[in-house]
């Protein structure tokens, strides 16, 4: 292994490759900030550039830089504008945006950058150690376990079920799940609940819903009650994290790096589940007084999903590199790039082309480090975005929400759907319905139904729950994550 690490370092640390990774990180960060353009689209756009470079190692290093940059860029728009452009960064906005509103935008971005760095780096270490071993474990997960895992992911809604709000949180989750059933499902191959409208055949767009439920109501609330985002006390450019804050987030980062990585290893699970689950777990194990802070600007609530989604992204390379199976949309595109570069990922990659295997792993370390070094000095300037006068900032936020939906679906009707949902989101916010559970339900709903249906077909009913111990175990964990906080709150009364 040591020889491989040295080969990888030698390749990744050449001047050309260092410049490539810096360029990739910068491009990824800035394009990733645009709602609607997630890592998958940016990597797809960069593939022709990578292929023309000729050298597979340099090309992969460029794509790894773009990947990590795009993830951080997506978190930035989530935290500053409450506009999560990709599903994996939705959970970052739960506490990141409240922090930005409290005048702690700089601190929130710093925590995001450090957590991402730590998640990515620890994930890469785990990848080096466990990759060959984990590839076989990942294959033990069948649709029944995936279904149970989605249910565990749904338990994140408990974080939004405050006193007297449990039914509202459940209702919003069900509404999200209902919306996920609209359109043509992957398994049944027939349109459902489309009312004959062609534009609904492919279902509602994730970005449209995310913008309508998060960014648009927030922007309209800023119009109704004027307040410059940077004015709410504190120093928006202040990056400092106190010693006690560092002590508080360190164990969260440690736990979520490991948990996020192992979830990322499972093909199809990925960063979204990892971030929701990370958020739910950290909230549930936090002391009672800290639990109440979640959703209101908790540093742990921000560090958990940020760490978990980066670690999961690294974990998703395990099935790609060791089995040639892409575990997520982004790794599927990377697989395409590898094949275009005459590299065939699989069990023999480490033996036949160690320089490429190790260069990819080393580029993860370097990409994460470069991202941290590049972004920390930029954070004060990025955070300054919130100091733009409201009269200019709000039209821009509205414009970017519209553009996110338009780019995502390339359809002007989507903009009208966005405004319609946005008005519903405003009404729900007025009536204190928690909106994150709706989005969690929507994101997980499709995958949950597909895996549930597949398991039902394989086992001829719900017997899979009892026949597969791992499924039963995960469902018990999910029930515990939902019920225990409620019982604990009752006991505290």
């Amino acid at each position: 292994m040591l020889e491989g690490i040295l080969i990888g370092l030698q390749t990744a640390l050449s001047l050309q490759n260092l410049l490539v990774v810096i360029g990739g990180c910068l491009i990824g960060t800035f394009i990733g900030m645009l709602p609607g353009l997630g890592p998958m689209s940016i990597i797809a756009i960069m593939i022709p550039v990578a292929i023309t470079m000729g050298d597979p190692s340099a090309a992969l290093i460029l794509l790894a830089g773009v990947y990590y940059g795009a993830i951080f860029g997506g978190s930035t728009s989530s935290i500053l504008l409450n506009a999560p452009g990709v599903a994996g960064t939705v959970a970052s906005s739960f506490d990141g945006y409240p922090m930005a509103r409290q005048g702690k935008a700089g601190k929130a971005l710093t925590i995001a950058a450090i957590s991402s760095f730590a998640g990515g780096t620890i994930g890469a270490i785990l990848l080096m150690i466990f990759a060959p071993m984990l590839s076989s474990v990942a294959l033990l997960f069948h649709s029944a376990e995936y279904f149970a895992l989605m249910v565990v992911g749904l338990s994140a809604i408990a974080a939004f079920a405050g006193p007297g709000q449990v039914t509202k949180a459940v209702m919003m989750t069900v509404l999200g799940l209902i919306m996920a059933t609209v359109g043509e499902g992957a398994l049944f191959n027939m349109p459902r609940f489309t009312a004959g409208i062609m534009d609904l055949q492919s279902g509602f767009g994730f970005i449209t819903l995310a913008m309508a439920m998060f960014a648009l109501p927030e922007a309209i609330f800023l119009v109704l009650k004027p307040k410059n985002l940077g004015d709410d006390g504190g120093e928006i450019k202040d990056l400092r994290i106190t010693r006690s804050e560092a002590r508080a987030i360190a164990p969260v980062i440690g736990r979520q790096s490991v948990q996020g990585f192992f979830i990322g290893v499972l093909p199809g699970a990925g960063a979204t589940i990892a971030s929701f689950l990370g958020y739910a777990v950290e909230r549930n194990i936090a002391p009672k007084e800290e639990q109440d802070e979640f959703g209101k600007g908790s540093i742990k609530g921000l560090a958990a999903p940020e760490t978990a989604n980066n670690a999961a992204c690294t974990g998703s390379f395990v099935p790609l590199l060791t089995l040639g199976i892409p575990g997520s949309g982004t790794t599927a595109i990377l697989l395409g790039a590898l094949i275009a570069l005459n590299v065939t990922p699989g069990p023999r990659l480490m033996i036949d082309e160690p320089q490429i295997f190790w260069a990819v792993i080393m580029s993860m370390f370097i990409g994460n480090l470069v991202l941290l070094i590049l972004n920390l000095p930029l954070i004060p300037y990025i955070a300054k975005l919130l100091a733009i006068p409201r009269n200019f900032l709000i039209p821009f936020i509205l414009f970017f929400t519209l553009m996110g939906a338009y780019i995502g679906q390339n359809n002007a009707t989507e903009l009208l759907i966005l405004v319609g949902f946005g008005i519903c989101g405003i009404a729900l916010k007025f009536a204190n319905f928690p909106l994150p559970p709706l989005l969690i339900g929507f994101i997980l709903g499709g995958m949950m139904e597909d895996n549930f249906s597949r398991s039902m077909q394989l086992y001829g009913g719900v017997s899979f729950i009892f026949e597969r111990p791992m499924t039963l175990g995960l469902l018990v964990v999910a029930a515990g994550l939902i019920v225990l906080p409620i019982l604990r709150a009752r006991k505290a009364k």
Binding site: M171, A412, F430, F452
Partner: protein, 160 residues
């Protein structure tokens, strides 16, 4: 009746229509071989409709105890806030959605940004106009030229 109960009433209506479709109309067009499957396309929606109806009834009937919480903005006193500006901006978004294709990206977006700032009370035209034009040009270049996503720049009567 409080706003959350009105919303619960609307959601109850949605769940009833959704449930009716799932329970009574969806399975009619199902192919015979699919009827032998343990799960149908309507199975999951049927479960959801029941949970949705129960949850909305709990909210509507006020069965869950909890204090009425007023958020950042009290919806009962909307007149105290800048409601006019908010409504105009929502209207502007609808107009933008309708004009984006026929009038082209450059004109629609510049107008959206300028009028948006104007609605919010900005009157510094020497700042509004250049900022809007530069931002529009930069986004168009990035999306169309760099990312290759087609955005018709000019109105329909001026070619592409």
């Amino acid at each position: 009746m409080a706003l959350d109960r009105w919303i619960a009433l609307v959601l109850l209506g949605i769940c009833i229509v959704y449930g009716y479709t799932a329970w009574f109309t969806m399975d009619g067009s199902l192919a015979p071989f699919m009827r032998r499957n343990p799960i149908w396309p309507s199975t999951f929606p049927k479960v959801l409709s029941i949970i949705g109806i129960v949850a909305s009834l709990v909210i509507l009937l006020g069965l869950e105890k909890g204090e009425e919480k007023i958020g950042d903005i009290d919806h009962r006193r909307l007149g105290d806030y800048f409601i006019g500006q908010a409504l105009f901006l929502l209207g502007l978004m609808v107009v933008y959605a309708l004009c984006l294709r026929p009038l082209g990206f450059v004109f629609s977006t510049s107008a959206f940004l300028i009028i948006g700032s104007f609605i919010l009370g900005e009157r510094k035209w020497h700042v509004m106009v250049p900022v809007a034009l530069i931002a529009t040009g930069a986004v168009w270049y990035l999306v169309q030229e760099v990312l290759g996503i087609f955005l018709r720049p000019l109105p329909f009567f001026m070619g592409v």
